[in-house]
């Protein structure tokens, strides 16, 4: 993460278009890491608050954040699997293409 950060800063300093792409990817990556952690944190604190004070609204919000966490990670996993399949198809297509040109 830190390496990506400094790498991104360096490529921005070089002033190329690739630098901006790296920075955008970096922020995307940071968001992907931040949201699950934030949902987990909210679930933990709200549920603890509900148990300690008997606050039903906090309990409901806590479970809502647990649901959001699962939904976020679930969709992320589906997207990653889809990307794998896409790259696999892309790779096989490239390989067959290379073989046919030789």
């Amino acid at each position: 993460m830190l390496g990506m950060f400094f790498g991104g800063l360096m490529s921005v300093n070089s002033g190329t278009a690739e630098g901006m792409v790296v920075v955008v990817l970096l922020f995307l990556y940071a968001a992907l890491l931040f949201f699950p952690a934030w949902y987990y944190y909210k679930f933990s604190t709200l549920t603890k608050l509900a148990i300690n004070t008997g606050d039903n609204n906090a309990l409901e919000d806590g479970f809502d954040y647990l649901k959001r966490f699962y939904k976020f990670i679930g969709i992320l996993v589906i997207v990653v699997i889809a990307l794998y399949v896409l790259f696999l198809i892309f790779g096989i297509a490239m390989l067959t293409n290379m073989r046919s040109t030789f």
Partner: protein
């Protein structure tokens, strides 16, 4: 833990029920995915373990790694199977959580409700222990690499 929590204050609301149902669906998804991953890793273990032994026997790997794998291949196998068992258990806890919370909501079964949260707790506990173990392993590897590099530069200075 202080237990000043009042049973009468906390109730199950319709919003919670829908949240639990959606959570249980995703937990089931992760459970199925976990079982598939376990199966795939088991299959790859069948290929990797003989390959490692063969490479060690032929001496194709660089020297410290080669003799380490040669004499400690059973340690690698045990570590691999241990990690595999952890992945399997994580999926199993998710499966039980998903099934129990659904049974609890459909038949207002208090035992199933308690069982569901017990399994989610077990899942989080195992996940936490695994995370701590991995962080500790990273630190150990970092220290080992630093010591190794330090020795290399020490001997290098003698030339």
């Amino acid at each position: 833990m202080e237990s000043n929590f009042n049973n009468g204050d906390l109730r199950v609301t319709p919003g919670m029920e829908t949240n639990w149902r959606i959570t249980s669906k995703w937990a089931m998804f992760f459970a199925v995915l976990g079982f598939i991953v376990t199966g795939l890793y088991l299959l790859s273990a069948l290929a990797i373990i003989p390959a490692l032994r063969m490479m060690a026997a032929m001496g194709t790997l660089p020297e410290p790694v080669n003799s380490l794998i040669g004499s400690f291949s059973w340690v690698i196998v045990l570590l691999y199977l241990g990690a595999l068992a952890c992945v399997f258990l994580l999926a199993l806890y998710h499966l039980r959580f998903s099934n129990s919370i659904n049974r609890a909501l459909n038949f207002t079964d208090q035992n199933a409700f308690a069982n569901a949260w017990l399994n989610l707790r077990n899942h989080f506990r195992l996940y936490g222990i695994m995370t701590i173990t991995f962080i500790a392993l990273y630190l150990i590897m970092l220290v080992a690499v630093l010591i190794f590099v330090g020795r290399m530069t020490d001997t290098g200075a003698n030339y």
